[in-house]
């Protein structure tokens, strides 16, 4: 069972994209999202897709890792395509299957939305593929810092995110251990329909949650023993900062992306 680990996990290859500041990458991901939703035709979408493809190539991340992110959303993409392109007994159609039919306009709309989702997912997966969890949460903290003026506990949120990232593999291991223990006692996880399979996991979730709560309690004690008292007065070993080149890349490429979305 490997459901949790893998998707969008940091790949520490060495590339310009890896060296770009995390906050700049978050800014670029936001610009890409904006551009994708502004783009009104295939021309704009095509340029944005090409830009993302270029970013993937320059990131030197194996395509397999990018594809893993896509696997998770393939259902949404296929559903979008079908939901938009299928019509009930239309006058003209490209292809008829009984009363259902595919018509050209619907296919165009479906393809447009599907490509939009694909480009969006690849672009944002690239962010987590090229940024280590520490840098990502540090970058998010800096991006969100203005919100602390509105009394949003930005530092605590970033700490929570860091701990969540730290415990994803540990929790996956724990789940695996419980599954194996249940299997050893005769539980069956891979037979039957989807409902039966889902029900087979209930005896896994209960001990898993029990473990998580116990661990959360122990972790809180350990953090207290190491003098954690909220983020006030805390310093960071790696105080990362936007350099000139990060600003330049973010503003330059970001503006270009948004311009593509606006005009095409």
């Amino acid at each position: 069972m490997k459901p949790i680990s893998g998707m969008g996990q940091y790949v520490p290859t060495d590339s310009p994209l890896h060296h770009l500041d995390a906050a700049a990458k978050i800014g670029l991901a936001a610009a890409l999202t904006t551009a994708l939703f502004m783009a009104s035709g295939f021309a704009g979408l095509g340029v944005l897709a090409a830009a993302v493809a270029w970013a993937v190539a320059s990131s030197r991340v194996p395509l397999r890792a990018v594809a893993r992110g896509l696997g998770a959303v393939s259902f949404v993409v296929v559903f979008t395509l079908l939901a938009n392109s299928l019509r009930w007994e239309p006058a003209v159609a490209l292809l008829r299957i009984g009363p259902l039919a595919v018509d050209a306009a619907g296919l165009r709309t479906g393809a447009f939305f599907a490509v939009r989702i694909l480009v969006l997912v690849v672009g944002t997966t690239l962010l987590t593929l090229t940024t280590s969890p520490v840098r990502l949460s540090g970058g998010l903290e800096r991006v969100m810092r203005p919100l602390s003026w509105l009394r949003v506990p930005v530092g605590d949120l970033a700490m929570t995110l860091t701990i969540a990232l730290r415990f994803i593999p540990t929790t996956a291991e724990e789940a695996e251990r419980i599954v194996m223990a249940q299997q050893a006692r005769g539980a069956v996880f891979d037979k039957g329909g989807p409902i039966r399979r889902a029900r087979a996991y209930a005896p896994v979730l209960v001990p898993l949650f029990f473990q998580l709560f116990r661990r959360a309690d122990a972790l809180a004690t350990a953090m207290e023993a190491r003098c954690y008292r909220g983020t006030e007065g805390r310093t960071r070993m790696r105080e990362e900062r936007m350099r000139g080149v990060d600003w330049l890349v973010m503003l330059g490429l970001g503006a270009a992306l948004v311009a593509v979305g606006w005009f095409l």
Partner: protein, 271 residues
């Protein structure tokens, strides 16, 4: 000096006290081992050392600072480092060096100083070269050494270990106890080690045994190891080498009670 003076403690939900009139002291450079059966109050005692729990009666003083004084609690936690049983319960960072930096970051130290402390702490537990490794890719033994480094990076004078090797295999256990011994005897930390392992007792300077929250033994480790009934009451097994040593002593051979590993028995027989 870390000092317990007539310390009692009861959990709010419990009927009997977990600790009752416990007194002892720990000097820097000294390795004190605390033993006792399950539920005898060892973990409670450990948590009282740095103010995670505060005594219901009596006082706990760390270099003269009273743990009951809430304004001193952070100063005390800098002086007393804690390492718990399960390393996964205490590793916070997503990489080795980030985790090690967690304590110094909380103290608000400048980045250069944090970097220096992290490097020093990781070196002293033999983890150089693993700085960028993610914790879940470490062995259990390495995880526990990281937990020790995390406590060391705070710059503590005293270290409290609550069964640090309970989750480890024999090799991991030996390397953990070797590090703990070095921290006390070479680096001059005052170390309180809660343990279920008679081999740890043999390496300590002093031993303390708890039963039902009371101190039932305090003194030289050899005297504790020589008392078979007390060892059993504390749930300590001396292992096959302990039994062998006992039989050899019955034959009149000079094998010390602290010789609990094959090497030390051999050394005793053929000096």
């Amino acid at each position: 000096m870390l000092e317990f003076a007539e310390v009692s403690f009861a959990y709010p939900t419990a009927t009997a006290p977990a600790l009752d009139g416990v007194s002892f002291s720990l000097e820097p450079g000294q390795l004190l081992v605390v033993v006792g059966a399950n539920g005898s109050g060892k973990s409670t005692l450990a948590r009282l050392c740095d103010g995670l729990l505060t005594p219901g009666g009596g006082r706990v003083l760390v270099d003269g600072l009273d743990t009951a004084d809430v304004s001193l609690v952070w100063d005390i936690r800098v002086k007393v480092g804690m390492v718990f049983q399960d390393p996964d319960d205490q590793i916070v960072g997503t990489t080795v060096d980030d985790d090690c930096a967690f304590g110094p970051e909380n103290l608000g130290l400048p980045p250069e100083e944090i970097v220096a402390r992290v490097a020093e702490a990781l070196t002293s537990v033999g983890m150089d070269g693993l700085e960028r490794r993610e914790p879940h890719l470490l062995s259990e033994g390495q995880k526990q050494r990281l937990a020790i480094a995390g406590a060391l990076a705070m710059g503590p004078r005293y270290l409290v270990f609550d069964e640090p090797s309970a989750m480890l295999d024999p090799a991991g256990r030996r390397s953990a106890i070797a590090i703990i011994e070095r921290l006390a005897h070479e680096q001059g930390h005052g170390v309180l080690l809660v343990s279920h392992d008679a081999a740890d007792v043999a390496r300590a300077d002093r031993a303390l045994a708890l039963s039902g929250g009371c101190v039932v033994f305090e003194g030289a480790p050899e005297d504790l190891l020589a008392d078979a009934a007390l060892l059993r009451a504390c749930g300590l097994a001396t292992g096959s080498m302990g039994v062998l040593g006992e039989r050899l002593r019955a034959l009149g051979l000079a094998v010390p009670v602290g010789a609990l590993e094959a090497e030390s028995v051999v050394d005793a027989l053929w000096p």
